[in-house]
């Protein structure tokens, strides 16, 4: 036989030892023999391992013992007969209890829901999510607040109230006698903010001059010359210049937990006459603050283009309407930059 056996034929030789033609070839042909032995060898070892395993546990097994006479209860009536009075009741109770326990266990064990619960059990691990936690940079904090009750005298020096996420009562030098519900005044400022510390018993603006106790000329509650329940010259429930809560002046920047505002309504800018004549093209970069209501404020030109196009760009953007930027799900004033393109078709 000159041709080699196919792998199928080799397996058939292994299965059927009576296949004399195939076995003859395997004897004569070295490659075929090697291929057959690559399976036959491990199979031989497998047999040895099965026998080894069987023999290993053989020693532990009891031999068949010659039967010994064993006392048994023959029938149920014999069993009941053996128990009298109290014993009989106790026996019945015992049988009942055992039977019901076994039935209960079987019922629970074969219940699909229980089996599903056991199957679904997973070991929980507490993953370390520190690397994924958003971090707020110190310099990302912006905003401020201010207030007052239109007092004739400027705000007096004092300490800041507690910092919190919510404001129920603005900080003020109280005029309410015997309030029914006492709430601590708070300012909406991130708890880790750097605030000026003043060691005085009464509330006030830490940066103000000492003087008569006053809430300042501002309006809307709070203390200082601004408006809106905070302390300082800004607006909103924070501290310092700026608006919308927080500290440090200005409005929020995008990033550090503050989402960017998006455009809801847009007006294309008009071309100015000079620019059209000069066939002038380019881009104006504007600075915009988008307030909590989504209106653009404080629009300034960062990169001008000239020929009246800067003014046209500001006019267009003033009519735009935004969906405000958000911090912790609440709309906040956010500063942004807008590129306005002027292209001639």
């Amino acid at each position: 036989m000159s041709r080699h056996l196919s792998s199928r034929q080799i397996l058939e030789c292994l299965i059927d030892a009576d296949d004399s033609d195939g076995l003859q070839h395997v004897h004569e042909c070295a490659p075929c023999r090697a291929e057959m032995e690559s399976i036959a060898g491990p199979l031989t070892w497998f047999r040895a391992s099965v026998h080894h395993l069987g023999d290993a546990s053989q020693g532990q097994h009891p031999r068949l013992l010659a039967p010994q006479p064993v006392p048994v209860w023959g029938t149920w009536s014999d069993m009941w007969g053996g128990l009298q009075g109290q014993g009989r009741r106790a026996g019945a109770a015992s049988v009942l209890i055992h039977a019901s326990l076994i039935a209960l266990l079987l019922l629970i064990g074969t219940n699909r829901t229980v089996q599903q619960i056991v199957r679904d059990q997973v070991q929980l691990i507490a993953p370390d999510i520190a690397p994924y936690r958003p971090t707020v940079k110190k310099d990302a904090m912006h905003g401020g607040g201010g207030g007052g009750d239109r007092s004739p005298t400027p705000v007096s020096k004092g300490k800041l109230p507690k910092l919190a996420n919510k404001q129920f009562v603005p900080p003020m030098i109280s005029h309410v006698e015997n309030p029914k519900l006492v709430m601590d005044p708070t300012l909406i400022i991130q708890p880790d903010a750097n605030i000026p510390k003043v060691d005085t018993p009464n509330l006030g603006d830490p940066l103000a001059k000492s003087g008569l106790a006053s809430n300042g000329f501002g309006s809307g509650g709070g203390m200082g010359s601004g408006r809106g329940g905070g302390i300082g010259p800004g607006s909103g429930p924070g501290f310092g210049p700026g608006s919308g809560g927080g500290i440090g002046g200005g409005v929020y920047k995008i990033g550090g937990g503050v989402s960017a505002p998006s455009i809801l309504y847009k007006v294309e800018p008009e071309y100015s006459e000079e620019a059209r004549k000069a066939k002038f093209q380019g881009t104006v970069l504007l600075y915009v603050e988008v307030d909590e209501k989504g209106n653009p404020r404080n629009i300034r030109v960062i990169r001008p283009l000239g020929l009246g196009l800067d003014q046209k760009a500001i006019e267009a953007v003033e009519k735009w309407k935004f969906s405000p930027g958000k911090k912790d799900g609440k709309p906040v004033p956010v500063q942004a930059q807008i590129e306005v393109n002027f292209r001639l078709l």
Partner: protein, 192 residues
């Protein structure tokens, strides 16, 4: 009130004249083989012990059906194979058996030394291959595993296997071929 079972109710030897006069002898002779086959099929010591006992109890109860002592091995193996099959397919408690059972450790199965003249590397390779075959055998379907174990662990010929499993010889060959193909694929996988 107490009654003792008289010795003739459970005799040590079966009634005279039958091929199974010496049931104890038969037990001693075939128990290792039956136990080994069930252990290799189920890979669980406890189940193997139980089923071996069941097997001999059934054989004892049905001892009249056996005509000649020469076929006792095949007959017992037939009972064992049936027991293994019904054990694997029985009911709802299968889930708990699978969840709670303490399977034999495969490293125990490779605990033997195939040949004292082999180098340590060769021994290690052999052990790995044997472990692989155990794993493949565990994955095979019930019929394939039974014929595979009978052929390559118990060295039975195809006719005997056909009698034991109640299949035709051709069917046995087909099952063996598929089992061997899986084994070969696993071994080749390991060599890569």
């Amino acid at each position: 009130m107490e009654r003792a079972v008289s010795s003739d109710a459970v005799p040590a030897t079966v009634g005279s004249g039958g091929p199974l006069d010496d049931f104890e002898g038969l037990f001693e002779q075939y128990r290792p083989r039956i136990y080994r086959f069930i252990l290799a099929s189920l890979r669980n010591n406890e189940s193997a012990e139980n089923l071996t006992q069941d097997c001999f109890v059934r054989a004892y109860l049905a001892r009249d059906q056996l005509r000649s002592a020469s076929s006792a091995g095949t007959w017992l193996m037939q009972i064992a194979a049936n027991l293994v099959r019904s054990h694997e397919t029985s009911g709802r408690l299968k889930f708990w058996r699978r969840t709670l059972r303490a399977d034999i450790d495969l490293s125990d199965a490779g605990d033997w030394i195939p040949d004292r003249q082999m180098s340590p590397e060769q021994v290690a390779v052999a052990k790995q291959q044997v472990e692989k075959i155990w794993k493949v055998a565990a994955r095979l379907s019930g019929k394939q595993r039974t014929v595979f174990l009978l052929r390559y662990a118990e060295d039975m010929d195809l006719l005997e296997i056909a009698t034991i499993t109640g299949m035709k010889e051709g069917t046995v060959k087909t099952h063996l071929f598929r089992a061997l193909k899986s084994v070969r694929a696993a071994l080749e996988d390991q060599r890569k």
